[in-house]
């Protein structure tokens, strides 16, 4: 029998693939946005759910990816095969620096420090003329892929779909390797892993860099979606949003990030129709989900009949 997890993942991707066939461009764009935020949150879930590192500054890498795309766009380079790997590499590089400094601490201090470093990048982006200050950088048009234009929403949608599927498969694979299991062991019991002979910091740093790289790719894609790299991509609100997506989807489930993004983004769209002050509703909803929600949507979908999650 196929594991239920794979069935759920298959259904999610089937729905995402079907959207452009039946929906207007507006819905395709919405689905693309969901996938991009799902990808960004996937990078964060690798940190939080597997590595046990609660970063409140993960938007830093989202923004870095976006600004890489923006700077390339400004200088006239629009080949995705150049832009996207560069975004991944730059985000990974920043991840290495921020991660190795932040990992000198753990717990609450780690949360505060990641937030502080992301905010530092926000201030730099918002005040440096080369990065467009608070206006950000506009992209003249979307990146192409191996020379093929991705200008049509449908084409871009499917490219994002493939990238998301690839990133999910890779993350899932890494989580099952000896490396991934060691990172998971450090999340569960760090001193024990040290006593067994693991250097926890090295493993956590590798995990941090990986998460940064995944989210960096998502950043380059979001700049392509909105044709814009803005300081908002780096803002702490975005960091918070990514964490919310992770917990809505189910911490550590990886694929749940896509579900969490879908719920949050659709909820935003619907609530924003009803009232300008939709965040007054979102805040309490979020609090209720945390206090009473169990392990997010993934936990709910994978629940066995007896009620234990797998």
């Amino acid at each position: 029998m196929i594991p239920r997890r794979l069935v759920v993942i298959g259904l999610i991707f089937a729905v995402l693939a079907a959207v452009p066939l039946y929906g207007a461009d507006y819905y395709t764009g919405l689905a693309t946005k969901i996938m991009i935020f799902g990808l960004a949150a996937l990078g964060l879930d690798a940190l939080v759910g597997i590595g046990g590192m609660i970063s409140f500054g993960h938007a830093a890498f989202f923004g870095i990816g976006a600004y890489v795309a923006g700077l390339f766009g400004k200088s006239g380079i629009d080949e995705g095969l150049i832009v996207w790997p560069t975004a991944i590499a730059v985000a990974a590089l920043f991840g290495a620096v921020i991660g190795s400094l932040s990992l000198r601490t753990r717990g609450a201090a780690f949360i505060m420090i990641t937030l502080a470093f992301a905010q530092m990048l926000f201030f730099i982006a918002a005040s440096l003329p080369a990065l467009g200050t608070s206006d950000g950088i506009g992209l003249p048009h979307r990146n192409s892929l191996a020379g093929h234009s991705l200008g049509r929403a449908v084409d871009f949608h499917y490219v994002v779909l493939l990238l998301l599927a690839g990133a999910l498969a890779l993350t899932d694979f890494l989580a099952r390797t000896p490396f991934g299991r060691a990172v998971d062991g450090i999340r569960q019991n760090e001193p024990r892993m040290g006593a067994l002979g693991y250097n926890p910091t090295i493993y956590q740093l590798a995990c941090f860099i990986f998460g940064a790289a995944v989210t960096g790719l998502a950043g380059a894609l979001v700049a392509n979606l909105s044709l814009f790299a803005a300081p908002d991509n780096l803002h702490w609100m975005t960091s918070g949003t990514l964490l919310v997506i992770v917990i809505l989807g189910g911490v550590g489930s990886l694929f749940g990030s896509v579900l969490g993004a879908a719920v949050l983004i659709v909820l935003e769209e619907v609530l924003a129709e009803v009232t300008d002050h939709w965040m007054m509703i979102l805040g309490p909803v979020l609090i209720a989900v945390v206090l009473f929600g169990g392990n997010g949507l993934a936990g709910f979908l994978l629940r066995r009949p007896h009620g234990r999650t797998s």
Binding site: T177, P178, G185, Q188, A195, A206
Partner: protein
Amino acid sequence: MAALLEVRGLCKTFGALAVNQSVDLTVEANQIHALIGPNGAGKTTFLAQLAGDIRPDAGTILFDGTDITGLPAHRRAHLGIARSYQVARLFPDSTVHDNVALAVQACSRWARSVGRAAAGIGELNEPVAALLERVELAHRSRIPAGILAHGERRKLELAMALASRPRLLLLDEPLAGMGVEESQATVALLDRLRRDAAILLVEHDVQAVFALADRMSVLVFGKVLASGDPPTVRRNPEVQRAYLATSGEVPPC
């Protein structure tokens, strides 16, 4: 011949409480050295300093002639020091098998290889099974460690400590919570282990201690009261007085 472990003048205070006051202790290779003492004497803190979980305020720790006082825990593990914990510290979400696999993997050459396929974990199955067999836990390998019974957790702890083929085992009350039969089997196992490793054994089960120990030290209020072979220590009047004063138990004569 130099001792395997040599501790000189180890001191640790928490706030106003001096937990270890200039502790000296020597463990020879392939010997079982028991460390006994009433509750709160500082035994667990002492082990934690040897393993590298806590940094001493003063003193030196020599392992096989090398100063390891400032080394982090994982480096000491690579040198051949393994420990078990008084309160079993397992990975509760992972299965018994995976707990041991993590321990085996920590010391295998490809522990760091990220690219190794998930299938590669199969290579661990053999050593893991052998370790579980050794502590008589093979039949429980597929259940999450978090739901093991108390005595079983101890055995799992032991299996994980043995995974690295250590030269020095630091065992913190390995028999606590075990039934009589389990306890006897574990004593027999520790007895056999002497061939491969030295053991520093913290244990309250006095019978087991006297059955196993080649040498023993008594720690009271953070100080070593006596050290030597078990019969000598047993006859030491200070030891007897300390035991009467603090816990009411007398080591059986």
